[in-house]
Amino acid sequence: MFSWLMVGPPILFLCALVGYPFLYGILLSLEDRPVAHAGTFVGLANFVADAHDPVFWRVTINTFVYTFFATILKMIGGLGLALVMNQDFRAKNLIRALMLLPFIVPTVLSTIAWMWMLDPGFSVINWLLRYFGLANPGPSWLGSPILAMISLIIVNVWRGLPFYGITLLAGLPTSSPDLSEAATIDGAGTWHRFIYVTLPLLKPVIFIVTMFSIIFTFADFQLVYVLTRGGPANATHLFATYAFDIAMGGGQLGMGASVALAMLPPLALIIIAMSIYMKPNKS
């Protein structure tokens, strides 16, 4: 009784502002619903329209490419960062704190800095390329479809890598010293030690962090909205930004909701798997 009195208010709050909007979104996706007008029920027509929309498929491919490469790079880079940071050196805490800055600072603000670094006229990256004679005048980073996608992936990795690195680092010291010492005595080389001792110990942490990263990369909005708005020629539109354009730009709430809901099947699999995995009764 006491328990329910306590959990009641927050549960009601979450039902009202997460559960209800979620169901309402499903209803919207089944309606022709221009903004500020009443909707009419159209069944699955919006989803059928999505399936015939070449941009929708472009967006699907973009989202998977973006998620795949950004996640892989964050995983490898984060693992590298964790292993490098797992040595003893001076000012370690300070460096760790600095390394986390990209993750702390509001994403939109740091992305504005990246936009300036990738500016077509005054990119500092291109200045460096010219300075070292590697390119002249240097590419238009956000102007061509492939380079724009690569730029987005780099910025996403820049922001997410510290989260990976520091989380994996926290998983490392508790686990490895004794075991890898034993492995060293048994004659295992650095590489073997990494593959057979360190990596298996990190596996649960890597799993959780990767799932987090997949979910929030798959549903990313801010980076694309600030850097490219989905351009050039829809080459960097993701589900979230495309749904935003349709619903907020075009005023078609029903169609927008259907695009957003297209994210649900792959996300739902991950979310359910993780919710079961995270069930906190294991300790």
Partner: protein
């Protein structure tokens, strides 16, 4: 002598070179932000000169930002929203976490599953229906709209982090207080909660930085300049058509990051503890 030099070289190879590369990659954008914000326009838009340093530093962009835009209003809005959302989230988070951590009751497994699932639902799945709901409630262009919706992102996380923390507090202390005749509520407020302050700091710092970072809901719900938050204000009002006021933008980016960075720097250890609790405390 040669052995030592070999050791040094190995250490450079294994530690300083990769660490240096990571640090340049991580920190260069902040350096660039700072340098750009104090360059006069004549240097900003001059391709002939070396751009890494400032020849004639100026605070003009900061002065313009503070006097010609609503930046201070946005900063205040951002701060107010973050404080209120964090407070709501900590209270609700505790109300969820305490029973789940301490009592067995019917439905507790379902609730903890639902909390975890809610934590993982990304915003883009909800923003369209929420925009419509906020409209119907006539909450558009009010800070209330974001103060109500931000906790939906933060409550599940706070609950989850606090649940882990609550479990680590020995239950014997509460049992002792109960035996001495304290009521359950007295026990919670006088014995249990004071022991959990570090957990509250971790969850609070996290919630605070996440609210400062939020963009999508603020972008949709807040369209008037006097209710905007810093990220939305910067994107919507410092970019006029195709004209980017880079100096002001960088000044805004830097000033907008300072509050979060300062608070973070005071509580780094708590933040890292919170960050890693989710993944490591299994």
């Amino acid at each position: 002598m040669s052995v030592e030099r070999g050791g040094l070289r190995l250490r450079a190879l294994k530690l300083w070179i990769p660490l240096g590369a990571f640090m340049v990659f991580t920190l260069f954008p902040f350096y660039w932000m700072a340098v750009t914000s104090i360059k006069p326009n004549s240097e900003l838009y001059n391709r002939k000169i070396m751009p890494m340093i400032v020849y004639h530093p100026t605070l003009k962009h900061y002065v313009d930002l503070l006097t010609e835009t609503n930046f201070l209003v946005w900063t205040w809005n951002t701060f107010l929203v973050a404080v209120v959302s964090t407070a709501i989230s900590l209270v609700f988070g505790t109300m969820l976490a305490y029973p789940l951590a301490r009592m067995k009751f019917a439905g507790s497994a379902l609730i903890s599953f639902a909390v975890a699932a809610t934590y993982l639902v990304p915003q883009p799945l909800l923003f369209i229906p929420l925009a419509d709901i906020i409209n119907q409630l006539h909450l558009g262009d009010t800070l209330t709209s974001v103060m109500l919706t931000y906790p939906t992102l933060l409550v599940p996380f706070c609950a989850w982090l606090l649940m882990g923390y609550f479990r680590s507090v020995p239950v014997e202390l509460e049992d002792a207080a109960r035996i001495d005749g304290a009521t359950r509520l007295q026990t919670i407020f006088k014995v249990f909660l004071p022991l959990c302050v570090p957990g509250f700091i971790s969850a609070g710092i996290f919630a605070f930085t996440l609210s400062q970072n939020e963009f999508l809901y603020a972008l949709i719900f807040l369209t008037q300049t006097d209710v905007r938050t810093v990220p939305v204000g910067a994107i919507a009002e410092l970019v006029k058509g195709d004209v980017f006021y880079w100096g002001q933008l960088m000044a805004a980016a830097l000033l907008g990051s300072v509050p979060v960075a300062v608070i973070y720097s005071f509580f780094v250890e708590h933040y890292v503890a919170g960050l890693t609790a989710g993944a490591v405390k299994q």
